[in-house]
């Protein structure tokens, strides 16, 4: 009887918390100079996907390139530290110049906090 009294409410609380919590989406937008070609952008996406903190379940294996607006979207795995230097270096080694990186959504922590 005592077990039911404590366990059931506890399970209900946990279940409701699970339902209410947003899907983890630590997504970032990166403005990249000159990225106007799908074919050329293949290398940038390839380099970014090699970073071990990229979340492959988001976007297209963790990365999406928007050549219309010269933007790259990436998703960071939950609990992983954000390494902006590694991200920028990956884009540079892909042949393009990153300008700035901005968190996209509410659940994403500010850059200063995650570094």
């Amino acid at each position: 009887m005592r077990l039911k009294t404590f366990v059931i409410p506890l399970l209900l609380v946990q279940l409701s918390a699970l339902i209410a919590s947003p899907v983890w989406a630590k997504n970032y937008l990166i403005n990249v100079n000159g990225i106007v070609c799908e074919f050329c952008a293949f290398g940038v996406a390839k380099k970014l996907r090699k970073l071990d903190f990229i979340d492959p379940s988001q976007f297209e294996e963790g990365v999406k390139v928007d050549i219309e607006n010269q933007q790259v979207f990436i998703s960071i795995q939950e609990g992983q530290p954000l390494d902006q230097e590694a991200i920028f270096e990956a884009i540079k080694s892909g042949g393009y110049d990153p300008i700035k990186m901005t968190p996209m959504d509410e659940v994403a922590r500010p850059l200063e906090e995650s570094q």
């Binding site: 100079n33 106007v36 799908e38 074919f39 050329c40 080694s93």
Partner: protein, 221 residues
């Protein structure tokens, strides 16, 4: 090991759509990333001869590549061309461009004994919806000018069409000829397909006869 594999791939050659002509870097647009490599094959028909080109490229870094082109026709290999494109990129907002200087060597792998040196100067630029490439070169006794310009159409899902117009002029010991015609290029992720048909606009060349057709397919990694 990766570089060895890429160089082996380069050496054994391959596929893909070359940006323009025999002297040129295999792919002007890609791979422009560190450690990128690619292969392409083109089939060309000109002067009543069909030639299969096996071509490879390895990118050490965006500013430095190595390319190899090996022609094959009439049951035997022709003279292979090795080149080292050196590029200076400029990325600015919604456009990217590069200046290139490409030293090359044509080796007598087709059975001859002459080695030829070459040098190419090029500029290409791409912005939203527009692409252009200009190239002037000297290889052996031939001086050439190539111009590609036209529209690009991206679908935002990883593929693009390019509809270009090509002008190719040649001056050699045998005379001069000028070819011009449409070029159609299709990209899908890391695959490129390119077809071009050029007709004779001017022909004072004793070694040239008729129109030019090229179809190619390639991949980059």
């Amino acid at each position: 090991m990766k570089q060895l594999t890429a160089l082996l791939l380069l050496a054994t050659a391959s596929t893909f759509t070359s940006q323009v002509t025999a002297h040129q870097p295999v792919m002007d647009m890609a791979p422009r990333w560190n450690g990128g490599y690619g292969a392409q094959t083109r089939i060309t028909h000109a002067n009543n001869t069909t030639t299969t080109w096996l071509e490879g490229v390895y990118t050490f870094k965006p500013a430095l590549r190595m390319t190899l082109k090996v022609p094959y026709s009439d049951g035997k290999n022709g003279d292979a061309i090795v080149a080292m494109p050196i590029k200076r990129y400029k990325n600015a907002g919604a456009s990217t461009s590069n200046w290139g200087i490409t030293p090359s060597v044509r080796m007598p792998t087709g059975g001859g004994s002459d080695w030829d040196a070459g040098l190419s100067l090029s500029y290409s630029s791409e912005s939203k919806g527009y692409y252009e490439l200009y190239d002037i070169y000297r290889l052996g006794d031939t001086t050439g000018i190539d111009i590609n310009a036209g529209m690009s159409h991206a679908d935002g899902k990883g593929s693009s069409w390019f509809t270009l117009w090509d002008i190719s002029a040649r001056d050699s010991d045998s005379g001069q000829h000028l070819l011009t015609g449409p070029v159609l290029v299709y990209f899908k992720r890391n695959v490129i397909v390119r077809g071009e048909y050029k007709f004779v606009a001017l022909d004072n060349d004793t070694q040239w006869d008729g129109d030019y057709l090229s179809i190619g397919i390639g991949m980059v990694f």
